[in-house]
């Protein structure tokens, strides 16, 4: 009987069984950032414990840094304290820190793959739920809390119970104008924001096989928004082509050995899954969320659902509360809603292909008056490539604020925040109440393609109508 990638990685990293029955799992790669690690380092100090394998932990700063002026000291003293704490913790422990002057700083879920630190067949953890992103290279990657960060620093292991594995097959051919983000939002709507509880998601099928790596990162990033703690794609030629030559992957003869080893982790053809879900690519339209949970979304051309369409009382109450918060009405069109802010960036959609795909469409266009538009490359390496390729200038000339790398307006821990009940077209990952920094702020999640169309018109737009030549 064949095995899934999840099972193979789990077995390869098993240390043993703990007295309570949980598995002690070896962690191949660990990332830390400034928000969820200082407490862990403090706990180590309290207990006089050293960092056991500093060469397997990598650090960067992303959540709290300003994206306009990154000169220190930051205006926000608390932010300054957090970056300073990370700096001294890493120095003390001998952990490599991709600091601001390194040219390799950025959102942790972007720089890990960009530097080739995240590799197939690894267990990867970080004190951040979007660690699921790294699964796109064929790894088992999971978000953890700060006490678990302490456990990894002290022991290079964690206590886990295994997840079940659900294969999500996306089959067929995507319509023009439909991107990885739309695929992910569609899956979350179909299966529910709680649908993946207890599961790891293996994304497969012809659409995923043909998807580029940046699309796969988007897809795996959003696994957690469907409650799957990790999502992954089996490593294939696309994965290896992406990783080749990156600074932290093996080189020369070692590269060939590595590929052979990585390939062996891919799920077997006769692997047995706990569940299989088939999604038809032809059913997926450009998708936008309208509520306060990522599963509250509609196709761009659809009207918002009536409360009577809810499948349970619980869902009906949730929709009702969401309508109240969002100031929308059942039955109305989402298309045409005037927006105040457009945000392109985050660990979901702040990657090279996200910017490359929309830059040609934006050329010669301009952000609508009254709209504040932010474009935030997720890492210094991506920012540099955008400059080199002229993409940054296209965004600037179109009236976007082209900002410095960081998490920016995804999560309200830096100065980039919504004000009052502003409506924001956002390529990020969460439309939770207050997520973008104002307790009344309203977030509509969408692809970079729809966000650019929306920036140009000033209202929620179908990219296929604004850019008729749109290709997938």
């Amino acid at each position: 009987m064949g095995k899934t990638l999840y099972q193979k990685v789990w077995e390869a990293h098993t240390v043993g069984t703990l007295p309570d029955g949980r598995t002690q799992l070896f962690i191949a790669t660990h990332y830390v950032h400034e928000v969820t690690s200082p407490q862990a380092f403090a706990m180590l100090r309290e207990n006089g414990l050293p960092v056991l394998h500093p060469e397997r932990t990598f650090a960067t700063v992303d959540h709290i840094i300003p994206t306009d002026d990154q000169r220190e000291p930051f205006a926000d003293e608390r932010a300054q304290k957090m970056i300073s704490a990370l700096r001294s913790n890493c120095q003390e422990a001998g952990i490599r820190f991709f600091d601001l002057p390194s040219g390799q700083q950025g959102i942790v879920h972007m720089i890990g793959p960009e530097l080739g630190i995240s590799q197939p067949g690894m267990t990867i953890v970080c004190g951040d739920s979007h660690t699921a992103t790294h699964g796109a290279v064929g790894a088992v990657a999971m978000g953890i809390g700060s006490t678990q960060v302490r456990d990894v620093l002290a022991t290079q292991t964690l206590a886990f119970s295994p997840l079940r594995v659900r294969q999500v097959r996306v089959e067929g051919r995507l319509h023009p104008g439909v991107t990885a983000k739309d695929v992910a939002l569609h899956i979350i709507r179909k299966l529910g924001a709680q649908g993946g509880l207890g599961y790891a998601y293996e994304f497969a099928g012809s659409v995923v096989e043909q998807m580029d790596m940046d699309g796969r990162f988007t897809l795996c990033n959003l696994a957690i928004e469907g409650a799957a703690r990790c999502g992954y794609v089996n490593p294939d030629e696309t994965t290896f082509a992406y990783l080749k030559g990156r600074p932290y992957v093996p080189q020369g003869a070692d590269w060939d050995t590595a590929i052979k080893r990585w390939r062996s982790f891919a799920s077997d053809a006769d692997a047995v899954y706990d569940d299989i879900v088939r999604i038809e690519a032809a059913d997926i339209e450009p998708t936008v969320t309208w509520g306060t949970s990522p599963d509250m979304s509609v196709n761009i051309s659809a009207v918002l659902p009536e409360l009577s369409q809810a499948t349970s009382d619980e869902q009906k109450r949730a929709w009702q509360a969401a309508y109240e918060y969002m100031k929308f009405t059942p039955g109305e069109q989402i298309k045409g809603k005037k927006v105040d802010v457009v945000f392109i960036g985050s660990c979901t959609n702040g990657r090279m292909q996200d910017f490359r795909a929309v830059a040609p469409l934006l050329k010669g266009q301009h952000v609508a008056s009254g709209v504040r538009a932010l474009a935030v490359p997720g890492s210094q390496m991506t920012a540099k490539m955008c400059e080199d390729e002229g993409i940054a200038d296209i965004f600037r000339q179109a009236g976007f604020e082209w900002r410095l790398p960081g998490c920016s307006m995804c999560l309200a821990m830096n100065p980039d925040k919504l004000v009052g009940d502003q409506l924001c077209a956002s390529t990020s990952n969460r439309n939770f109440k207050g997520r973008q920094g104002s307790p009344a702020g309203r977030t509509l999640l969408m692809s970079p393609l729809m966000a650019v169309a929306t920036a140009v018109t000033g209202c929620i737009s179908d990219p296929r109508e604004i850019f008729p030549d749109t290709q997938p």
Binding site: V15, G16, L18, D20, G21, R22, Q24, F26, A28, T29, V35, Q39, A42, N47, L52, H53, E55, F58, H63, A79, K81, G116, Q119, M122, G127, D128, S129, M142, G143, G145, S146, T147, R150, D151, A154, T155, Q156, T157, A159, F160, S161, L163, A193, Q194, L197, G198, P247, Y248, V249, G252, S293, E314, R317, L411, M413, R430, F432, K433, G434, P439
Partner: protein, 209 residues
């Protein structure tokens, strides 16, 4: 590392409803409260924006209603604790005096974080949850007993079965919920794996291939 064990088998106290599916950790503790290098400032901040208006006045959340004052148990909905992995969420709950959460289901990361700090999260069926919430509205000051040995959540004569996977339950009952002591016991095997499993290694750009 101290090996003192702290078994948790029973939580007794008042319960407070925090209803709704997909109660995300941004709502449990808004991001602005995460700008700290310790968890010390989180006491009293749980569900802050759910409870207070921008001017600091109360929104009338059950947590702040006098009849639920001093509650030890939160009654939540489906997929409680979804979203961000911030341990600040269970820390804020625990540091605000809550000692257990009962809900229809829990997000994985939240459940793991809560378990690791000694905050048991147990599931009840949707049907029982509805009955519990009705009972809670009628008898808000009632004392509840959450028993991890009998796996029952009871209020006087009324008792509801609760669910928790065996491993964390065993960890609570034996006091081994803080895993680090156990994790430090397998040094030889960990080092064996550290040698066998490649770590990401930097190769200088001028490396001769």
């Amino acid at each position: 590392m101290s090996a003192t064990l702290h078994p948790i088998d029973k939580i007794v106290g008042k319960a407070v409803p925090v209803p709704g599916a997909n109660m995300d950790t941004d709502r449990i503790i808004p991001a602005r409260f995460l700008k700290c290098v310790t968890f010390d400032e989180l006491a009293g901040k749980m569900f802050y924006d759910e409870r207070f208006n921008a001017d600091g006045t109360s929104k009338g959340h059950p947590i702040d209603a006098p009849q639920y004052a001093g509650a030890a148990i939160i009654i939540g909905g489906e997929n409680f604790g979804c979203g961000s992995s911030r341990e600040h969420a269970p820390q804020a709950i625990k540091r605000s005096g809550i000692r257990a959460v009962v809900a229809e289901s829990f997000a994985e990361i939240f459940f793991g974080n809560a378990s690791g700090i000694g905050l048991p999260c147990v599931c009840v069926s949707a049907a029982d949850l509805a009955v519990i919430n009705t009972g809670l509205a009628e008898h808000s000051e009632a004392e509840w007993t959450l028993d991890l040995r009998t796996m029952q959540f009871a209020n006087g004569a009324a008792s509801y079965p609760i669910y928790m996977p065996n491993e964390p339950r065993e960890a609570f009952l034996t006091g081994r919920w803080d895993a680090v002591t156990e994790l430090m016991n397998a040094t030889a095997r960990v080092e064996e794996l550290a040698r066998a499993l490649p770590a990401p290694g930097y190769t200088p750009p001028n490396h001769a291939c």
